[in-house]
């Protein structure tokens, strides 16, 4: 009996793997349920998706995050400009900083940084809200009233996060570019800022812009799904709500970076 209680790395890894599979399975089922309700809402008159609820979530997820996203992305542009100019200057290539900021910002940093900000801002808030609803028996009341929590709570949040993530990324991309330009103009000198926008335009294709936005949409879905899943699975009162909030941010960042790695690999292989 005592042997079975000793720490065993294989048992530990096995338990972690099982937990991971259960989590992935739960997330998949939640995604499928949300997709099913969304399709039913779009094509059936009987199912009301709630435009008002969607608008509220879009304001909450997007509009309230806008200032933070703009500020953070502008600083990313500042950092990129300041970090990349010295090594480029060694080869007399300071003007190319605009190309690097454009490529890195629009293809990857724009969506990733926006998603990280959104996971801390909107993801944590969604998990805390739904978790509190679970604790206060609101979800159970909803089910008892024949209102499906996935349709009523998850679908508007996932849909709003997806749309607003794309919109915020568009703004974030331009804030990175603008931050880089402002830094070049104020600190780095004419060698960097002269022809800044022209070189960025030369570097960027519609494909760069589109791949960034596709990633943004996927990140938005991931963040909101994780937040909803964590929130709806809260156990143990206020402590459980706190745990769900923390886990939402941690799992979201892991999911965002993992998805970004997969996207990068795909784009690399297919030369997109």
């Amino acid at each position: 009996m005592a042997d079975t209680l000793r720490p065993n790395p294989i048992r530990f890894l096995g338990a972690k793997l099982l937990n991971g599979l259960v989590y992935a399975g739960g997330m998949t089922l939640l995604f499928l349920a949300a997709a099913r309700w969304l399709l039913r809402g779009l094509f059936s008159r009987k199912v009301k998706l709630g435009r008002e609820a969607l608008a509220i979530q879009m304001v909450r997820v997007g509009v309230r995050s806008l200032g933070v996203v703009m500020l953070v992305q502008a600083f990313i542009g500042v950092i990129l400009a300041l970090q990349m100019t010295p090594p480029l200057a060694d080869f007399g290539q300071e003007p190319q900083v605009a190309r690097i900021i454009g490529a890195a910002g629009f293809r990857m940093l724009g969506p990733i940084i926006t998603a990280v900000v959104l996971s801390g801002f909107a993801g944590a808030s969604i998990a805390a809200e739904l978790g509190t609803m679970v604790v206060a028996e609101e979800i159970e009341a909803m089910e008892a009233m024949a209102l499906n929590p996935v349709r009523f709570l998850v679908v508007p949040r996932v849909f709003a996060s997806m749309i607003m993530m794309v919109m915020l990324t568009v703004i974030g991309d331009w804030m990175i570019a603008l931050g880089g330009w402002a830094t070049a103009r104020a600190v780095l000198g004419p060698a960097t800022y002269a022809g800044y926008w022209d070189r960025m335009q030369e570097q960027l294709t519609y494909g760069d812009f589109a791949t960034g936005l596709i990633q943004a949409a996927v990140f938005g879905i991931l963040i909101s799904l994780i937040a909803c899943y964590e929130g709806l699975h809260v156990r143990g009162g206020a402590e459980g709500v706190g745990r769900a909030t923390t886990q939402t941010v941690v799992y979201s960042i892991v999911a965002i970076v993992s998805a970004a790695a997969v996207f990068t690999a795909i784009f690399f292989v297919y030369e997109i």
């Binding site: 009341a141 009233m145 499906n148």
Partner: protein
């Protein structure tokens, strides 16, 4: 929708004792939770008859709230079945279960109002979601329901701005929004002062009379239970100890100990005595477990 009995009278088993037909039939219900060695509900049988107020009572952890959650379809039992309006809940799909759910209302212990909505919006929600009524008609319906629970003045207030008693009344207004045939109450008087508690009890009685609804009330507040009950059910350790008319329980409460363990256990619970079979069992059980676990 699967119907286990085409005839509700047959479903209720009416005619056997001349009683009204049963709206809810619980048969051999067993419910277990992971990590708990013993079942929370262990072979529960219970009929709730049309139009009556059935009070389910018992000590903390006896399984009464779990029984209520099984009845509303929140928990799925491992064994046995629950029939409501002649339908076996276990055999219903999601949409069919939702159709049954539209025929009952529930008042949760905390009121369970949606905090992001006003009291009026909370009451309107089932009407907005489940009916094709226009906005003006829904507004009138909301006012009527709030008037029934004496809460019209709070229509535009947020749940965070009203007292615990008002939250329960608002929850009740929402529960009756769709004119349900059955109303479930989970600890309706818990955490309320005696006057507010009596007001809630009176509301339950009034709604039962005015709307003719069948009520199932889970409580361990004995004053409240005796005020509202037509029949009572005593649960203990997941089993039904006794089901009967309120008067029978009143006689047990007011009578002397008989030496019969079940009778004396119910009597102690009804009277709220600090000594008796319940206390003795608790002391004996915990002491023995404590000693055994220390010795290991």
């Amino acid at each position: 929708m699967t119907k286990t009995h085409d005839n509700p009278t047959q479903a209720a088993g009416a005619g056997i004792d001349g009683a009204r037909p049963a709206v809810i039939r619980v048969r051999d219900l067993v419910k277990r939770f992971p990590g708990r060695p013993t079942p929370v509900l262990d072979g529960v049988n219970l009929d709730v008859r049309s139009g009556e107020t059935m009070v389910i009572m018992g000590g903390s952890g006896c399984g009464k709230s779990t029984l209520l959650r099984c009845m509303i379809g929140s928990h799925t039992p491992e064994e046995g079945c629950i029939e409501m309006f002649g339908h076996n809940l276990a055999e219903l799909g999601e949409e069919q279960l939702d159709e049954v759910r539209k025929r009952f209302g529930i008042l949760f212990q905390s009121g369970a109002l949606f905090n992001s909505m006003t009291v009026g919006e909370n009451v309107a929600l089932p009407l907005v979601e489940h009916t094709d009524l226009d906005r003006d008609t829904i507004d009138i319906m909301v006012k009527i329901k709030l008037e029934l629970v004496s809460l019209r003045a709070a229509e535009h207030r947020m749940p965070a701005e009203i007292s615990g008693g008002m939250k329960k009344r608002a929850g009740l207004a929402r529960a009756i929004a769709l004119d349900p045939e059955v109303l479930f109450y989970d600890e309706p008087s818990a955490g309320l002062d005696p006057v507010t508690s009596a007001e809630i009890d009176q509301l339950i009685i009034d709604l039962s009379k005015k709307m003719g609804v069948t009520s199932v009330v889970v409580t361990h507040e004995m004053d409240s239970a005796f005020r509202i009950a037509d029949r009572m059910c005593m649960l203990d350790e997941g089993r039904v100890l006794k089901v009967g008319p309120r008067e029978e329980f009143e006689r047990m409460r007011d009578g002397a100990p008989t030496g019969d363990k079940t009778n004396d256990l119910i009597r102690q619970f009804l009277r709220g005595d600090s000594e008796g079979p319940i206390t003795q069992r608790r002391i004996d059980g915990e002491f023995a477990e404590d000693i055994l676990s220390t010795g290991q």
